[in-house]
Amino acid sequence: MMTVRLKRQLGALALDVDLRFGDAPLVLCGASGSGKTSTLRMITGVLRPDMGHIDLDGTVLFDRDAGVDVPVEERRLGYVPQDAALFPHLSARENVRFALDVSGTLARRERNARALQLLGELGVGPDAASRRPAELSGGERQRVALARALASEPRALLLDEPLSALDPATRQTVRAFLAQTLQRLRIPTLVVTHDREDAEALGAQVAVLEGGRVVAGP
Amino acid sequence: MRRSGPPSAVCRLPQALAPLAALVLAVAGCPSTPAGDSEPLVVFAAASLQDVLPATQPEPARLRFNFAGTQQLRTQLENGAYADVFASADRRHMEALSRQGLVEAPELFACNRLVVVVPATNPAQINGLGDLVKARRLVLAAPEVPAGRYAEEAIDCAARLFGPGFPAEVRKRIVSRELNVRQALGKVALGEADAAIVYRTDAQAAKDAVRAFALSTECDVLSEYPIAVVAASRHKDRARAFIAGLSSAKGRAALEAAGFTRCDEATAR
């Protein structure tokens, strides 16, 4: 269970969100400029809220009043930004391996196998795994980005417009696949999208953000 | 594509330094305007004459000066730069131009002496040529420029006064051979160098920042300043009048105030 209460002034936009999500993914909907991406960035810790409190399964990640601000790299959140943001100088497998190298829980020689296994589970074959992001299809890139996020064994997932860059046909397949994967994972997940159909397919719960505030929620 | 401007200028002028000369020409002279009395007289003069030359003339406003190193001025003249008068700090360059027929018969108008300069505080306690061995950092002009060449001669000559080991001992202390004599002076004025050998006129220009000591008479070096009307001049009468002005009472007074001497005061080199 993740609870998020954040306030932050961003230029003209007064962001003030209050979200709770746990067993089922929460979809955060809203037009562009409504504060969705900023909300995600504040949860990851790269953007500092003016006020608020973030709690993940009983661990406080941020609390202005208590002076708690867990550094980004210690929050253990899987973040998939818009357009996947794969590391372009690394192959798909090396992108996933980067996360395994950082966590260091596996022995060095097991990491490649684990990276390939993670990619395989998300439908990326060994052939695609050896390619650089520029040589992958849009759908493959999203899967690699998700595999990379999962490799760090996150305690929650944050997905920013995971389907927006895809063409309609790929979009349907990836959407179904993503919905299925999220159901299997069962960790608190927040999905940001501005597309109604995506919202309905991915989330049991939908919150709507408008002008920096949640106007409709679960 | 139309070929124009700089590329064709390079093709016409033989020297590789033509673009530079062409630029200087454009800035310093006006070769295209017709000759007339309203036109200023163009004087190419050695950099060491910068402070004094305007003061020797009754009407400095009608003059246009181009002060630079003698070698640079010579290169510019050889590449077709326009000038009426050329005043050189070195006999060789003037003779070279004279052989090419680019200037009329040169005459000497002033002489300059070398002096040892030290910072006003004189940290190394140097009081003349013989004390140069006390310097931690000695600066000379480069051997390629006249002042540097003369300084080397003076140091060699000093072996006769202070022993055969003296020149080598002095040269060990040279930390820089500056590209012109004013830079050598500047290093002393800033206190970076303990001593330098420069022209007496330079020392005079630095006023209180440095102290100057004449070289001993035996090794005194006199450098000569020849001047000539440029063969291509369109104002030869005025050019001759300019040169005559240097030996007028006003001219002599100005030259002497700047530290120049008459060339007949000592045997010319």
Binding site: V46, L86, A145, S152 | Q15, K187
Partner: protein
């Protein structure tokens, strides 16, 4: 047209040097010590600039707010200052009567008129060129990529070395080439701060200028040699430059 304007004088220099006694100029005793010194000092200064400059450029590129903007502008100042003025300024700071003069003197360090002074002058004039290229290279990296790396648990140094540095490398190489070339051509600040002593502080440009005073042919020969060497080194740097990795934008 512009290319022609840039190349024709250089071509004229090479042609003329080739026609008039090409050997005579290069046989001048000033040439080889000056060449060796130029290559040595520019290597030192470029390494210093690349190491320190990469760290500073990264901070400027990632920095937000007044500090980064101020630092970026300030770091470009040496480009506008005439090098000779820079040399005087360095004398006024590191010289005998300079701000640090007494301190250095007590430590037994004398900087003016030394090879170290040449390197310092070269760093001063060439660093802005590297900083500009490096800052631009770091700015081109998509920010979300760096955020992801952090969320995966990577510490800031790890993000820098594993992600930012490899991605910025082509741009950094470009900066290295630019600043090396600027250091090679450096004249004014060296002349003021380091003087002109064959074998110790007389770099190629100073040797050329010295030769200009007496022997035009030698000056042209050395200048032609310098053009050729600069061209060769820039070619080698270009060949070593890693291929541009398409940025995060390629994921579109």
């Amino acid at each position: 047209m512009l290319l022609l304007f840039l190349l024709v004088p250089l071509g004229g220099l090479l042609v003329r040097a080739a026609i008039t006694h090409p050997g005579a100029g290069l046989a001048s005793p000033a040439v080889w010590p000056a060449l060796r010194l130029s290559l040595f000092t520019t290597t030192c200064s470029t390494v210093c600039v690349a190491v320190l400059g990469t760290a500073l450029a990264w901070r400027i590129a990632r920095g937000q707010g007044a500090w980064a903007r101020w630092a970026e502008t300030a770091s470009q100042l040496p480009v506008v200052i005439p090098p000779a003025v820079a040399g005087v300024a360095m004398l006024l700071v590191f010289g005998r009567r300079g701000v640090f003069g007494p301190l250095l003197d007590r430590a037994g360090i004398a900087l003016p008129f030394t090879t170290a002074a040449v390197v310092m002058a070269e760093i001063f004039v060439s660093a802005p060129f590297f900083l500009q290229a490096a800052t631009a290279a770091f700015r081109r990296i998509d920010e979300p990529m760096l955020i992801v790396a952090r969320t995966l648990g990577a510490s800031p140094p790890r993000v820098f070395f594993r992600i930012a540095l490899p991605l910025a490398l082509p741009g950094l190489w470009g900066g290295v080439a630019m600043s090396w070339a600027r250091a090679l051509g450096e004249f004014g600040a060296t002349l003021m701060f380091a003087g002109n002593m064959p074998g110790r502080t007389q770099t190629l440009p100073l040797a050329i200028y010295s030769a200009l005073e007496s022997d035009l042919d030698a000056a042209q020969a050395i200048a032609a040699l310098m053009v050729v060497i600069a061209f060769l080194v820039l070619l080698v740097l270009r060949a070593l430059q890693p291929g541009t990795v398409t940025g995060g934008g390629a994921a579109r």
